[in-house]
Symmetry: none
Subunit: 314 residues, 2 copies
């Protein structure tokens, strides 16, 4: 557990995934595994990179991982709708292991986290929402399912590629909005896009978010608005947040089902995202063209990332 495990030698990596040391070295040199070199020229592989590589190549990692995701489950690529239904079922019943298996199988099958969030997790919660409105599910079942998913999402982090230096994204939800899941998915998506992330939590006053932007100067600020209590004050205070973001060169990305088109017309922001895939596309494009984060342009040019009318997970 100590930090000493941050880097591994080729021998260690070879043992873990069960190939020869030579292969590891070759792969390192070919760039399949991101490695650093010691002063003397020895390769060092960051543990995170190993986990990412293992998923990429489909290698099973000896030990805990193998037990966690036994290949027993069906390898047939089921359509997302079916997976979402299965996940919804498992979550309603509180079967956290089944849910985890399901998510990990998909993740291991190299589905991107943004796709996973949109097509499976958000979809599952839409199913759960329908059941709930039909009185076929109780509130505690939905909430328990939410807690389960939140934990599973956290378990994915170690398998993501290492973060890029100087790429910070922070985010939160506003006062009165206690929906953790959309914000958690946004965080995961941005982390998968190699941003270092800090989740400030739910139900924070915009006043405090402004200070966070001023203190941390993130490249991205995500704001998830699933529930809105004070319409007027929100519009007012949101302007302060936008101003702070403009000031620090931060891209302000908003999302959430409480942001109706009518409300959005009264807000100034950098981008609106309906889905995690849009968020992913946006985050990736920002890395490729870092100049678009320049102070002068970040808030003036609204980006449109809303091609579909399908209700998003935010």
């Amino acid at each position: 557990m100590s930090l000493a495990d941050a880097f591994l030698s080729p021998r260690q990596v070879a043992d873990v995934i069960g190939v020869s040391e030579s292969s590891i070295k070759r792969w390192c040199d070919e760039g399949l595994l991101e490695t650093i070199r010691t002063a003397g020229g020895h390769r060092k592989i960051p543990t995170g990179e190993l986990l990412h590589f293992a998923r990429e190549q489909g290698y099973q990692i000896a030990g805990v991982e193998a037990a966690l995701r036994r290949p027993a489950s069906s390898h047939l690529p089921q359509p997302y709708g079916v997976m979402a239904d299965q996940l919804a079922e498992a979550l309603l019943l509180g079967q956290s292991l089944t849910a985890r298996q399901l998510i990990f199988d998909l993740f291991w099958a190299k589905h991107s986290v943004s796709v996973l969030c949109d097509n499976v997790i958000a979809a599952a919660f839409r199913v759960i929402g329908e059941r709930w409105s039909c009185r076929q599910a109780d509130e505690y079942q939905e909430r328990r399912g939410c807690e389960i998913i939140l934990r599973i999402l956290l378990e994915l982090y170690p398998y993501l590629q290492p973060v890029l230096a100087d790429r910070l994204a922070i985010g939160a939800t506003i006062t009165g909005d206690n929906y953790k899941l959309p914000s958690a998915m946004a965080e995961l998506t941005l982390r998968a896009a190699r941003y270092q992330t800090q989740n400030l939590g739910t139900s924070l006053p915009i006043r405090s978010l402004v200070r966070a932007v001023q203190d941390l100067h993130p490249q991205i600020f995500w704001l998830s608005v699933s529930h809105l209590v004070e319409y007027e004050t929100f519009i007012e205070e949101f302007a302060m947040l936008a101003a702070a973001c403009a000031e620090s060169g931060t891209v302000l990305i908003v999302g959430g089902r409480a942001l109706t088109a009518e409300l959005r017309s009264k807000l100034v922001y950098s981008a609106y995202c309906d889905t995690m895939q849009q968020l992913n596309a946006l985050a990736t494009s920002l890395i490729r063209s870092p100049d678009s984060t320049s102070r002068s342009e970040s808030l003036t040019r609204k980006q449109s990332f809303n091609p579909t009318k399908k209700r998003g997970p935010f």
Copy 2:
């Protein structure tokens, strides 16, 4: 972070970049790392030089702060107060790695999770609360710290003893109470006491909690009440929950700073816990004498687990 971190020992540098102390010393002597020598001949590496070297070699040093925390100069078990202060500091600065290292160090040193929750985590948040009331800390810092701790606590689960069969504990917070941390600590404590746990989440209507008890028939139901909005209806609805617990032979354990002595006098429950250590003692005693959960006795005999007046973490 203490100020005296201008210079590092070879050991510290070795920990940060993940090589042996010998290598660091060799590199120093070869001039790859510029070093100062003390009068007695010990090497001292300026932090700036380390950062420069790491950048040169491509090392990602995420855990500088964490490693810098090591020099504590003595393996003497620091008093909990000091640890709590250090943890509060790290959390306020958003240094998740430092916080994690700190918690894990204590955990590895075989401190029980309940002690850890009470004397370090809860204590740290009291410190943060004081800072906040003195305007020395912002709300987002407190909330970010809370998110960080929640994740660290989740990381501990894999290291706990397996659960005992047929020992289920579920819990939640009531509508309007969005304090996740006390409930999360309660869950961890019960899990450490070998209960299978299900956290239903925050801000749930008691009506739904009743249904959860009826559906799941847990041995324990924990209810954390940190914030109370509707005093009267709470008293009323709580009686329903107590009745449901009595019905299913569930031990109803309550806690939280919103439960004043005056309010408690109007409630019927199995036990009130001020601290996680009390909760732990209670949970353990229930396993040893499972007959005490029998339907007839569970709610009639109130247990007193409140020997101190110290404000608890609930």
